[in-house]
């Protein structure tokens, strides 16, 4: 195989990889969409009593993590290994921070449990499934960071970094819709 053939094949594979990832994200978004529809169907114009400041903090943490993920991916696309590693590590730490904020703090502070009616069931289901995706994203970030330290990615070939970044931003997009649905829209019921 000549170098030109190899490049053509890599570009083709990259195209199919991107399509596969987006199809996966599309199918995953139907699941999250279903949860969102359930929230409005079962809770209507009410929302659970939650800690507003904490909600804003975890949202900010996820938003900042998305910024650093973008920075890391952009750096890798331009061959800047150091900024890429820094950005990936910061994203990973912020991802763990988000998990601690939601599962470690918000779940403990919430004045209801998962079996306390529709509010409880939906709140724990929505935040729990989202947190599970954050956890898998953190594992993905850990793998990419470790491979990055070994110098496995280059400006020309870094599909894993792009996939990880796209997945991480998808998690952010889901929270963009979950945050107002759980914390902002509707009147509080205790």
């Amino acid at each position: 195989m000549t170098t030109a053939d190899y490049r053509t094949e890599y570009k083709y594979k990259l195209g199919t990889n991107r399509l596969g990832l987006w199809l996966f994200l599309l199918s995953d978004s139907f699941f999250f969409g279903g949860l969102l529809v359930s929230r409005f169907y079962l809770m209507g114009n009410t929302r659970p009593h939650l800690e507003q400041t904490l909600g804003l903090i975890v949202t900010a943490v996820l938003l900042v993590s998305s910024f650093f993920m973008n920075r890391a991916e952009t750096a890798m696309a331009h061959g800047d290994q150091k900024t890429f590693l820094q950005g990936t590590l910061i994203t990973l730490v912020l991802g763990v921070g988000f998990l601690v904020g939601v599962v470690g703090v918000e779940w403990q502070l919430a004045p209801f449990g998962p079996n306390d009616g529709a509010h409880g069931a939906l709140f724990y289901m929505m935040t729990g499934m989202h947190a599970f995706h954050v956890l898998t994203g953190v594992i993905f970030l850990g793998i990419v960071y470790n491979n990055g330290r070994k110098g496995l990615y280059t400006a020309e070939k870094h599909w894993a970094v792009e996939a990880c970044a796209t997945y991480w931003h998808f998690i952010d997009v889901v929270w963009i819709f979950f945050y107002p649905a759980l914390y902002l829209i509707g009147t509080v019921v205790s």
């Binding site: 990259l14 991107r18 507003q52 900010a60 938003l63 900042v64 750096a75 819709f177 902002l184």
Partner: protein, 68 residues
Amino acid sequence: MDDKKKQALKFGVYVFIILAVLTIGEYFIAVAGLPWWTALYGIAILKAWFVIQHYMHLPRLFGEEEKH
């Protein structure tokens, strides 16, 4: 190469600032008790569009951006 990288990184900062302002905006709409629920979901859709378009690089899927 360096200029291109700086420009790309700077663009990421601009998108982040827009997202931060929109997030603060929706927080204050809710805290003020304004019944602007449509506006809150409008803001969410706008934020999602910014992330999908500029952070997830959706145009890449259709080959509108350079491949690496």
